[in-house]
Symmetry: C2
Subunit: 343 residues, 2 copies
DNA sequence: CCATACTCCTAAAACGTTTTTGTTATATTA
DNA sequence: TAATATAACAAAAACGTTTTAGGAGTATGG
């Protein structure tokens, strides 16, 4: 039904190869010929059939992106913003994005194999890197190009973008310390994630700088979901050594802490200070607006695609490993503690 | 680098066509032969090269889904949950999902043309249908199968799933009326969206049933984002005829109203009642939990894919047009008004 | 023993594009 | 005028899969 080169050949009287060459801008095509061919192509809304182009070129012009999910439905708005960036970057270069979901655990690697095997995609964007990440090992083995959002260990040469989350969390924690908080809780992320290590370090370093002892009883390991944030914060708020501030590994967790705070009647920003991480739009529009590290998620998405694009087209990649400085945004979810607790 | 039929042919001594037929389960292949071939295929991790398969079959085994965005980054978590459903449904049938973003306005149709032209996808899932939807016209014209989340007008035979949002909003509004509210605001969605019409009708019908006059001054047209929800609610709360309850077109808008309420010191569920629509997980984990219509988003995503799958494979579609009854969930964001206002 | 049926395999074509190589006709140069 | 360069087009191959058509060999039946 759709128009093919063959049809244009029949209509214009030129050969298929001339049609193709004319449309692709080859020089040895007569100007008048090209005009006629272009006109016919426009008339019939010609668009090259991708499957054929892909087979011929050995490329799909598609990249893969898997959204991490917890359970069936829960995911982080962070990934839509990222996906939007990746998608818009891709569209600008006439690439497409194949999206799937990747469950935590065993299924994750399978999900990646599924889109990589059979050459469904030319390359992959990977997020939430793990210490010793099987996906990276696999992609290296099968020679599929990829870029990471986040670092990995023991792989010195892989391309990535990461936020310096050690210093990010450190800044936020110091901010709370400067405000006078001395008992600062921390809801962190699963241990296997690389950024957990950095964020934990940032938290500890800030405490150390202010001579405060690390107190494991007010540090909880969450899973980056709002629901778990709420549950763990509820626990924290029930403890006798209730913290006056809570640092969270991401915004979604922080919003869970908001719920818990509301529930027990704590006023956010005075009774309890809360900080997030990521800078999703929900953080900005929460009340009070959430103190957080503003990651330029959309722009990072575009940049990730552009890095991958260069890898795929053998263009030189000047900055293969990019570590972005944290941009803290101090909003009203953090303030001085209601009554200064002992120091 | 990856293994191809040719390689397996060389290794086993059979022809390419026999290899293919053996792996595809054709009956006229000797059992022992098949065993050997399967073994070799497994040994080399053979997976058919999709571009070739696609070209040969005239199908991509890919469906398209475009996420509506407002501005650069803002989108609704609703669409991740939906995408997760679509993606999982697709993966179960060895289909993939090509995802892009579609801006509001002129660019939208272009975004659809982009993935449909050139046969990038076999079919499309469309959301947020408009009255007189150009996308539907286009897809019908180029004979690309599609399914809708939402109805359209003047196209009696197109396949869709929709929630009965007239009755959904009606139920919520009636719930508020029963609680004693008489001044009920409404933050609705852009007029061109089909579901706006239904939701508006539901609101009006409920009022009428209780003999309350429609008051345009407490009805605002939003854009389904949290930010606009917050802004419009702030307006509402500043008015002298401040409503005691606000019905919202979706959960995200309702969460914006939460922010506005917090900001002016209104207690949600008593000073001000708020209802949403969709049942995203943020609604459940907000405080207080949001009264809303629980759309089984993930399941709808799966079902949408399965409908499209049947269309693509010429299987009979028993229920071509599905209208799901609304499932209201009454939570603590709605309660009786603080002091009964005149009735 | 011939004809027929059955089993198991292979050759070849096709999908539509891009690119390499070649060909023809015309123009240029010696 | 003959040799050579140039311009403009076309033929053909290739990408890897699936499927159609058919062929060789063996078994079955009369």
């Amino acid at each position: 039904m759709p128009t093919r080169l063959k049809d244009l050949a029949k209509e214009t009287g030129y050969s298929v190869s001339t049609i193709s060459r004319a449309l692709l801008g080859y020089k040895d095509v007569n100007a008048e010929t090209r005009r006629r061919i272009v006109k016919a192509a426009q008339k019939h809304d010609y668009y090259p059939y991708q499957s054929a182009r892909q087979l011929r070129a050995g490329k799909t012009y598609i990249i893969g992106f898997l959204i991490p999910t917890y359970g069936l439905r829960f995911s982080d708005p962070f990934f839509i913003e990222l996906l939007t960036g990746i998608g818009d970057g891709a569209a600008a270069k006439n690439y497409d994005v194949l999206v799937g979901t990747s469950p935590e655990g065993e299924g994750e690697l399978e999900a990646y194999k599924r889109i990589v095997a059979g050459g469904r995609v030319d390359g992959v964007v990977i997020t939430r890197t793990k210490e010793d990440d099987k996906r990276v090992d696999y992609l290296l083995k099968v020679h599929t190009p990829f870029v990471l959002l986040g670092r990995v260990f023991n792989k010195p040469n892989v391309p990535y973008i990461d936020i310096d989350s050690k210093n990010g969390i450190k800044l936020l924690t110091e901010h709370l310390l400067k405000l006078g908080h001395r008992k600062i809780g921390f809801i962190t992320s699963p241990e296997e994630l690389v950024f957990s290590r950095y964020r934990n370090e940032g938290y500890r370093e800030a405490l150390k700088k202010y001579g405060i002892k690390y107190d494991a009883s007010i540090v909880k390991i969450g899973d980056l979901t709002q629901e778990t944030g709420r549950k763990l914060a509820t626990e924290l708020f029930r403890q006798k050594n209730r913290p006056s501030a809570v640092v969270c590994a991401n915004d979604l967790t922080a919003l869970g802490v908001y719920s818990a705070a509301h529930q027990v009647g704590l006023e956010i920003g005075s009774d309890i200070s809360i900080s997030g991480y990521d800078g999703i739009s929900l953080a900005e529009n929460a009340h009070p607006p959430l103190t957080t590290i503003q990651v330029p998620i959309y722009e990072v998405g575009i940049k990730l695609f552009n890095m991958l694009y260069k890898l795929l087209n053998n263009e030189p990649l000047e900055n293969k490993q990019i570590l972005l400085p944290p941009q803290p945004i101090y909003r009203n979810s953090t303030g001085p503690p209601r009554k200064a607790d002992g120091h």
